[in-house]
Amino acid sequence: MTTAASGALIGNGEAVALTAVPVFQFPDFRGRVIGGVAEGGHLKALFGWESGGPRTLTAVIGHGATGRIEVFSSPLPSEFEAITPDCPQAHMFEREIAEQFGTVPRGHPWLRPVRDPLGHGDFFSVSGEEVHEVAVGPVHAGVIEPGHFRFQCHGEQVLHLEIVLGYQHRGIEAGLRGGPHRSTLFQMETAAGDTCVGHATAYSRAVEGLAGVEVSATAHAVRAVALELERIANHVGDLGALAGDVGFLPTAAYCGRVRGDALNLTTLACGNRIGRGWVRPGGVAFGVEGPIGTGIVNGLRKLRDDLRSGGGLLWRDSTVLARFEGTGPVARSDGESLGLVGVAARASGVERDVRAEFPYEPYRTLALGTAVRESGDVHARAFVRWLEVEQSVAYAQELIAGLPSGPLRSSPGPLRADSLTVSLVEAWRGEVCHVAITGPDGRLAAYKLVDPSFHNWSGLALALRGQAISDFPLCNKSFNLSYCGHDL
């Protein structure tokens, strides 16, 4: 294998001068991406950018075992040997680079645009006797975001699912150049609107890293309370939706309501059900002191009791278990090679969790266990959520009980020029990765957002292989991925 030197090693949210990021020639760059992942690293981001000068290709590899994040670059060639055949984690990133820069990764197995559904070209097709195609979307039957799904089926059995997204593309990354702007924080909050706290925290930590500002212990704790409330609300909602999809109405009804209870606790603290305006660069806009904190602690206790009563039915009902178990399995080896993150990874036995691998405050001092299952099926993805809700409830309560007093917010000030930072946050779906790069004027020269869904949509496609097409809604809910988080 390669003998190329490694990249710059930084901590989560730490800034580094661009001059300290090694620039390799492409063959060495390619070798280092493959080598870094082979050593057990995870490709967090791989992206092209340009800011007045020549086009640059930058890779970000997380080494969970050491908690270090490796960053290195290369000039972006107009044509290059694709990394994907030797490192499948790169497959979506290389498609994205080809789409954005017109470059050609030679030997990429499926070089289709990532965010141009109308210019997608031919779909992958399977031919043979009784093989047929089913096309769904972009407008779906439920109240959800748009995307197009193309199934190649033999009878009921799905041979292949191609997922075509991009309908939701709002151009957030391109709009960030020259920022931060007045609207930047609010675009981050709505990058994937159900992950408002996750993206706002990742963005705020990136700004704080580049500005070199210290955030108070109070603000760190409040942000974690906000993040865990977001996780609780979404996980509970997903458990209800999964119950609904197998026709188990008691849990569907109770979880729909209990999810609302978590959102109402978020409203109690910040005035908005999904946490808009709560997290700010430099800290938080609202605290959880006094009666607000007591209200959240008590509310969480009641929520947990209600969930155990109404949600716990899932794990005892044979009709539910018959639909959950063995449906939509993703093998651990596939989860690793695709670079799945979050709940989907942990349900396949891949212990990937920013809170444990790349912890920042308060996760560094107050650790949180990682919930893992091995079976990789719908049941595992549901049960990981169940375990995580219990953990998050206890964690948020503990944070509020030990809430340090201090300022909620400090002023970040100007960003360091010609620098780069990587900010990782474990949001409810999985890791959110923000890479911020500043130019000589201290403004953003490039900003890369990687929502967990960008990694995980391929996992859903894989989960459907060999499954009945009628199980698609159930498999889809078990991942519950973001369309706009992918399309940004």
């Binding site: 407008v139 593309h169 709505t190 109404g310």
Partner: protein, 270 residues
């Protein structure tokens, strides 16, 4: 089975009192904004400069206005104002039939009027909607979904989200209408049989939200289809959505709640 029954007893009755009673929302809830232009120091434009979506204009006493359609309820103006001339209230009711009615100048209420009698006769007791997310971030979508849970229980008013535009009486649109969703939105609108209604829910669908002016979006539903009801928020609270829908159908009127059309109305409302 006995466990399911026990869980049912544990969960109890959860449906909101609205519209027969107006529920109290938490103190920090960021609902409709109120302006006190009389407090504005001459020439001050702190709020205008702070607003990320250009929702405020005319600051400095003369003609202070806030457009609830552009507003993303983010607190920037409230924090920037040196004299507390802009304040949040816990008022969740703020939908309107016209774009102009969303522009507030003081402490007046913003409450949508009902459809005319003939259309109400068609949809007043049974309204089926198809939802289209056209660049929505899943913030509005999850709150629209919440309308169907046991707390808000939209079905008790005869309002329902259906799977096909062919089964629908109208569209509820979220998102700023991205370039890539415009065609799908046009086709979905065309597929709804006339007469049809369009509801724009959330700041993005009304005016583009935090993405206003960006080249890959069309700044809201009006770019593509005519809109009959605007429901502000980022995202709108489910009660804001519910209130807007009920007012459109003439099921709720005035500030205190129930409609004078009760005689035509729903027995469940009593």
């Amino acid at each position: 089975m006995i466990k399911i029954v026990r869980a049912r007893l544990h969960q109890g009755h959860q449906t909101t009192t609205y519209p027969s009673q107006v529920p109290r929302l938490p103190e920090r809830f960021r609902g409709k904004l109120e302006l006190s232009p009389e407090k504005c120091p001459d020439g001050c434009a702190e709020c205008v400069d702070a607003c990320p979506t250009g929702a405020i204009s005319g600051a400095g006493r003369a003609d202070l206005k806030l457009d609830l359609g552009r507003c993303i309820f983010c607190t920037e103006c409230v924090e920037a104002c040196p004299v507390k001339a802009i304040a949040y209230t816990s008022e969740f009711r703020m939908s309107a039939r016209t774009r102009e009615a969303l522009v507030v100048r003081d402490r007046e209420a913003v409450l949508a009027e009902a459809l005319d009698r003939k259309i109400r006769g068609l949809f007043g007791r049974s309204l089926k909607l198809r939802q289209v997310s056209a660049g929505g971030c899943n913030g509005c979508e999850v709150e629209v979904n919440a309308l169907s849970n046991v707390v808000f229980d939209l079905g008790r008013f005869g309002i329902q989200f259906v799977a096909s535009p062919r089964h629908a009486d109208g569209l509820l649109i979220t998102g700023p209408v991205t370039r890539n969703m415009k065609l799908a939105l046009e086709k979905t609108y065309a597929a709804v049989p006339a007469p049809k209604l369009v509801i724009a829910a959330g700041a993005c669908a009304i005016a583009g939200g935090p993405f206003i002016g960006m080249s890959s979006v069309h700044d809201g539903a009006r770019s593509t289809v005519p809109v009959d009801l605007f429901i502000p928020g980022c995202p709108p609270h489910p009660l804001t959505l519910l209130d807007g829908l009920l007012r459109l159908l003439g099921r709720v009127e005035g500030r205190t709640g129930l409609s004078s059309h009760q005689d035509r109305g729903d027995p469940n409302q009593a």
